[in-house]
């Protein structure tokens, strides 16, 4: 057990190190001078003002110092939780900007993942048993999983938002409202939340449904299923075993899909101008706010690694074979 988790932690640590280093390296090794281009954006600067700004940025980024020093500085600041200041946020600490956007993102992401995983697996399992359901679920599933996240978002926004005017098309809540603990505000929040949620949910649902359907079929054809049936076990028992075994790869699948899901989250937020991490990232890109960009990136990395780790733990709990393997007991 220790060896298993030890390896996982090692992998994650290396990943984090690699990712953070990439993050640190990019502005320093890209062609061109990021500081100069930043300064060039500020139109109408006097040359004195420009020099001062260049000085300021260089200090901020530490570009004048030797590379090694820069590297250690970076890690020092990182471990203190200092991700720098956001230009887009008018000098707000990056961490603050991220924390402000995080609740919105989580409110979309977590329910979407959990509900789509549960619903997709259920439908997939049902489809594996009933032919008529399979004929419906399969094409729908493939279409959904082939749909680009942002496009579904756009289509939903268009149909439900523009044409039918049921839901608002952008923002996290109405522009005219202030965040308060009121019912009105809450319903407005939900109204803004529904379409991005539906968009994420549907695409993921398709993928899980297809995966589960395939897995259940595979398990129902396995030797242990055949044996149970040869001994006259009722379908209920056979299915129970098949479903439980089919779920295992779906759990690992969750970890594998995390990167993709996060990508989907990002673009969906952009479509709906939903004020989560995705929109923040988008704005950071547009305004070339490198600190914010880096901060968000590191944050995403950490979040992904944590989520991966949680899935690893969940898997060990659910699949008894992993524990047996670790005990060293095989024949």
């Amino acid at each position: 057990m220790r060896r298993y988790f030890g390896r996982k932690l090692l992998t994650y640590s290396i990943t984090f190190f690699v990712a953070a280093t990439i993050d640190w390296m990019i502005p320093r090794f890209m062609p061109g001078d990021p500081v100069a281009s930043l300064v060039a954006k500020q139109a109408g600067l006097s040359s004195a003002g420009a020099t001062a700004l260049v000085q300021y940025y260089n200090d901020l980024f530490g570009f004048q110092k030797p590379i090694i020093v820069q590297f250690f500085d970076f890690w020092a600041k990182l471990l203190q939780g200092d991700l720098g200041l956001s230009v887009y946020g008018h000098g707000r600490p990056v961490v603050e900007s991220i924390m402000g956007a995080l609740p919105f993102t989580l409110a979309l992401l977590v329910p979407a993942i959990l509900l789509s995983w549960w619903a997709g697996n259920s439908f997939g399992a049902m489809a594996a048993r009933r032919k008529w359901m399979d004929n419906a679920v399969l094409p729908i599933g493939y279409i959904l999983t082939a749909t680009p996240y942002m496009w579904l978002g756009i289509v939903l926004a268009f149909v439900l938002g523009f044409s039918l005017r049921i839901f608002p098309m952008s923002g996290g809540y109405g522009f005219n409202l202030e965040p308060t603990l009121s019912w009105e505000f809450f319903t407005d929040l939900v109204a803004h939340w529904i379409m991005p949620f539906a968009s994420l949910f549907l695409v993921m649902f398709g993928g899980w449904a297809i995966g589960m359907r395939n897995m259940v079929i595979y398990e129902l054809e396995s030797d242990y299923s055949r044996y149970l049936e040869a001994l006259g076990a009722p379908q209920g028992l056979v299915r129970k075993y098949a479903f439980r075994n089919a779920m295992l790869p779906q759990i690992t699948g969750l970890a594998l899909q995390l990167g993709v899901i996060i990508g989907g989250q990002l673009v969906t937020e952009i479509v709906f101008a939903y004020p989560g991490i995705g929109s923040l990232l988008f704005n950071a890109i547009k305004s070339e706010d490198y600190f914010l960009l880096q901060g968000i990136f590191l944050f995403i990395i950490i979040g992904t690694l944590v989520a991966n780790f949680m899935v690893d733990v969940a898997y060990v709990i659910v699949d008894p074979r992993t524990r047996v393997g670790m005990r060293g007991g095989t024949a």
Partner: protein, 320 residues
């Protein structure tokens, strides 16, 4: 009589048509009889064995009847057969080593299986433990996962589970094929002990290895290309085989301790016919050294001596 099979035909559906894997089997097995079922790969022995317990995948019942202990077995009816499975007839499958759910402890799985069949696990458990002792396994195997057992251990466990409810008929499908010789012997002896202890009444032991049958079977049924070739007591098959195919099969067996320096081991030249469009007449005709004109007509499976059945014109003394 324990088992009676009459003109059983089971085909396989394929894109190209029906493969006539089992084309008319008629035989019977008495109580306490261990019948070996032998033949080359593709002769239909697995089809026969499996069709009795469960029609799998592409198998399709075409004709024939099966009676066990006086009860007609509705082998074409999957749900109808459930009543008989495990209690009246059972199987030790070819895939015994992967027959147990890998993510369930063996004891738990057995319990759930029994309960689902309406048996009381607690009441049966003492007997289960006794039998585990009998086959030489540790009692704590019930607390283990299948992956913690060796191949041989898993097989023995499956043997115990399959016979737990004392079925009338046990079908053992190629259970020695994947084993080394000494384990083969141990498994074969275990099978016999099951019969002697009264756990099973009669058995069909399916294998392509006639030498095993020589050790444990009371009677042997030889199949060829979907048809029955010969059925007789083991000593009759080995010492006085009547069907040319049986004779060649038996003579191709090496004997332990005998040197074959002066004689070549005779295999049987040629290969079995396609069962998609089987030839008319005796199906062994093309490879048979004794074939003559009459063989263009299919020989019936008839009793030529007490409990000695053959499907061959030469053997029944019907010369053209």
């Amino acid at each position: 009589m324990s088992l009676q099979v009459s003109d059983l035909r089971v085909y396989y559906r394929t894109l190209a048509g029906d493969v006539k894997a089992l084309d008319g089997a008629t035989f019977s097995i008495a109580d306490k009889e261990i019948m070996g079922l032998a033949g080359e790969s593709g002769c239909g022995k697995s089809t026969l064995g499996n069709s009795l317990i469960r029609l799998d995948g592409r198998m399709k019942y075409v004709a024939g009847s099966v009676t066990l202990d006086g009860n007609a077995l509705p082998i074409w009816d999957n749900t109808g057969m459930n009543e008989f499975r495990f209690r009246d007839l059972s199987v030790i499958p070819q895939y015994a080593m992967s027959a147990m759910n890998p993510t369930r402890k063996i004891g738990k799985m057995t319990g759930e299986l029994l309960e689902s069949r309406g048996e009381n696990f607690a009441a049966i458990k003492p007997e289960l433990l006794r039998r585990i002792d009998l086959v030489g396994l540790q009692r704590d195997v019930l607390n283990l996962y299948p992956m913690e057992l060796s191949g041989g251990m898993k097989q023995r466990m499956v043997m115990v589970i399959s016979t737990l409810l004392d079925p009338s008929l046990l079908i053992a499908d190629e259970i020695t094929s994947a084993l080394d010789v000494s384990t083969q012997r141990a498994v074969a002896e275990t099978l016999v002990s099951f019969r002697d202890h009264g756990f099973v009444k009669s058995m069909i032991v399916i294998t392509h290895d006639v030498s095993i049958l020589y050790q444990i079977a009371d009677t042997i049924l030889i199949m060829y290309a979907g048809k029955l070739a010969e059925k007789a007591s083991t000593s009759a098959i080995i010492n006085r085989p009547l069907h040319p195919y049986t004779r060649m099969l038996v003579s191709s067996l090496p004997e332990v301790g005998v040197r074959y320096a002066d004689k070549k081991l005779s295999g049987i030249p040629g290969s079995p016919p396609s069962l998609l469009k089987p030839p008319t007449g005796c199906r062994f005709r093309a490879r048979c050294p004794l074939a003559f004109d009459k063989c263009a007509e299919e020989p019936p499976f008839v009793e030529v001596d007490t409990d000695h059945w053959v499907a061959c014109w030469k053997a029944t003394g019907t010369d053209a």
